[in-house]
Symmetry: C2
Subunit: 416 residues, 2 copies
């Protein structure tokens, strides 16, 4: 265990005790201060980032990776704007979510408090440094960040500015700490600090997430992948079905809440699939279908067992015709990733049953899977989408970065 | 990885999909059926248990361990009665905890659903087999149980009866599975099944809990120890303070929510401590005090730094006189275990501030720490007390064995 990592854990815990005593005004002003500081330092941030980008290009990183690394004007503007919006969101802390009275007169309730210390391990995007840190601060937590080595200079620069701004706002600067080394073993040390870190949130590729899950001694909030389904019921409105499926597949195919498999009831398949296929192909989507699909859609490639498990993250779609909703739900249970599932139907009973029986983090009736996103669902902000079921299942906003303690008001009650 | 353990994981997950479709009547009737079956099989359970007890005595286990192992008539009666009470508790599933509407008309909400598959690793008490399994079933989960080797025959007998009763009630018998081997490595295999087990709950000594935390790849809900404090404020009612402190210390000293350290404001210490010490000593409590305490209480042993960290679980109490509430809170933060803390005060401001600033799983004003218990707080049942902050912090009842998914009702919304 590196002393440096252990010390970060201790400082984060100490700072968490101080953060738990802050009020919402202090935290709001601090977030506004962070936005001002980032605005003021745009040039130095840009310069640090440019060094990272240049080195990445020298090292021959893929164009996609270099893109993720780049803090363009738009990315910086969104980052700063996001901070200001976050500052204005209601304070989640101190809320008493329920209160009841026991027969002995003891009033018992649950009060919302910060989670404590949050660890975030992420890859190339340096804006995560700001977005994630700010969300943690909003909910009264402290955070230890470990970014990717490619973004090292950008992250150092951003974290330095954030710490300075926290200090100016009267909050502990150690409420945001960045691991100052890119050694891989430092992550392992971090994952052993279960005494000091309450939860670990990995953000990045599946390999990183599996590594963190395997080695972390504290709970991990994560999601591996999104194999999202739309089920078009026999009683679907065909126009609505087409609109929703197109949106779910093509509006942004490279993200986790895009549709990967379309399930269609056999009674509507004959009418729906030919026009749907044409519409999808106009948008450049490659189709892979089950046998029944291939009898209805010309030149459709055959779907293999692997296609049902696939997260294409691309303009590719698997299509299966099902005999009924039970078969659709069973397909989702077998091949899905518990991320996002939608039904298109005008039938009340089936819409309701699909909603109850499908156990994914978001289940929609007559709307696009693309809505599984903290902003779109109205959480105001998001630190990621969890497909772990414990604590937070689905998009994690400010509230998901809190917990509740029990409180009790007595007038001398003792236990007999 | 033993094939047997992997198969248990798969079966548990399959059964969880079936359990998620059950309604509250089916689960209630199943629990009542479990109670009837246990009642009917009292003799065979007693015989299996007697074999375990005999072997434990042959192997020279401590009297305390043998006691924990024994399913006396009273323990069996409580177990069966507990099942019947649990059956009658309201169903937590399907509750829509909140619902809101987005500007585009999409109605978004959160619906309570089962957690999924729960793993429980425990030590000698065989009644945990029934209590824990029943709580999991109530919340629509399935469970994999791994009991201690000393209770192997009792657990096998109980699990067999439970499975038979589940089958009779039309629920999957694999909703309750017991690991059929006492090999230590089987636990390690279980802890790797993050794909099939959603949460692991270890119950037993600190060594077991540390082992599970270190090796589990899934989240762990646990508590290590309870170093609970009562802070008697300067404005406390002395009679109430004495009553609460006596109850917190002596009513059942061997449990996690008993008081281990008493903190007294210096302004009330002179008046309070001599009479409190006398009352505690009448109950056989050994006192260990700070220097100021020792000037007020005759023959009081000196408390060392280790005493402030100690979970005595016995008739021993550490006492410290503090200059003010900040010093008390700071002591709790430094030495406490985030379990249970109480303040005794007539002062509104300080009662309120203590409640806000102390970050323990239960914070009480003017009541005994002994109330930190699922039954006492009105949860109706309890599977343990968590001092991990994620998901459940404090006593875990039926609701803490559930999670929520997002649901959305649309009329064709797509994302732009």
């Amino acid at each position: 265990m590196r002393d440096e990592i252990l010390m970060m854990g201790k400082k984060a815990r100490e700072a968490a005790h101080r953060m738990a005593k802050t009020n919402s005004t202090m935290r709001r002003q601090a977030l506004e201060g962070l936005a001002v500081a980032l605005e003021r330092e745009r040039t130095s941030i840009g310069a640090a980032n440019e060094e990272d980008v240049q080195e990445a290009m020298r090292r021959g990183l893929s164009r996609a990776k270099v893109d993720r690394l780049r803090l363009s004007d738009k990315v910086m503007g969104d980052m700063i704007g996001g901070l200001r919006e976050l500052a204005m969101l209601p304070d989640p802390l101190g809320e008493i979510t329920r209160m009841w009275t026991r027969p002995n007169g003891l009033q018992v309730g649950k009060m919302r408090i910060p989670l404590g210390v949050i660890g975030i391990v992420y890859e190339s995007r340096p804006n995560v440094t700001v977005d994630a840190a700010a969300l943690c601060i909003k909910a009264g937590n402290t955070v230890i960040l470990r970014g990717g080595s490619e973004a090292f200079r950008s992250n150092q620069c951003l974290a330095g500015i954030l710490q300075e701004a926290l200090k100016e706002a009267g909050l502990p600067e150690t409420a945001i700490q960045l691991v100052g080394t890119t050694e891989r073993d430092a992550v392992l040390d971090l994952l052993k600090l279960e005494e000091y870190i309450d939860v670990m949130i990995p953000r990045g590729g599946e390999e990183l997430i599996r590594f963190v899950t395997e080695h972390a001694r504290m709970p991990v909030l994560k999601h591996y992948k999104g194999v999202c389904h739309v089920y078009v019921d026999e009683d679907a409105n065909p126009d609505m079905a087409e609109r929703i499926c197109l949106n779910a597949k093509v509006q942004r195919p490279g993200v986790c809440n895009a549709m990967e498999t379309l399930l269609v009831h056999e009674k509507i398949a004959g009418k729906l699939l030919p026009r749907m296929a044409a519409a999808l192909r106009r948008e450049g989507v490659e189709l892979r279908g089950c046998e029944k699909t291939r009898t209805l859609v010309s030149d459709c490639l055959p779907a293999t067992e692997e296609d049902w498990y696939a997260e294409y993250l691309d303009l590719t779609l698997a299509i299966r015709v099902v005999a009924d909703m039970d078969e659709a739900i069973s397909h989702i249970t077998t091949y899905g990733s518990q991320h996002t599932e939608a039904i298109v139907t005008e039938n009340f009973q089936r819409g309701h049953r699909f909603l109850r029986e499908v156990q994914s983090s978001l289940v929609l009736v007559n709307a696009s899977t693309r809505f599984n996103d903290g902003y779109q669902l109205g959480l105001g902000a998001e630190i990621g989408i969890s497909t772990s079921r414990l604590h937070a299942f689905g998009p994690m906003g400010v509230e998901e970065l809190t917990t509740t303690k029990f409180i009790a008001f007595g007038n001398g009650q003792v236990r007999s």
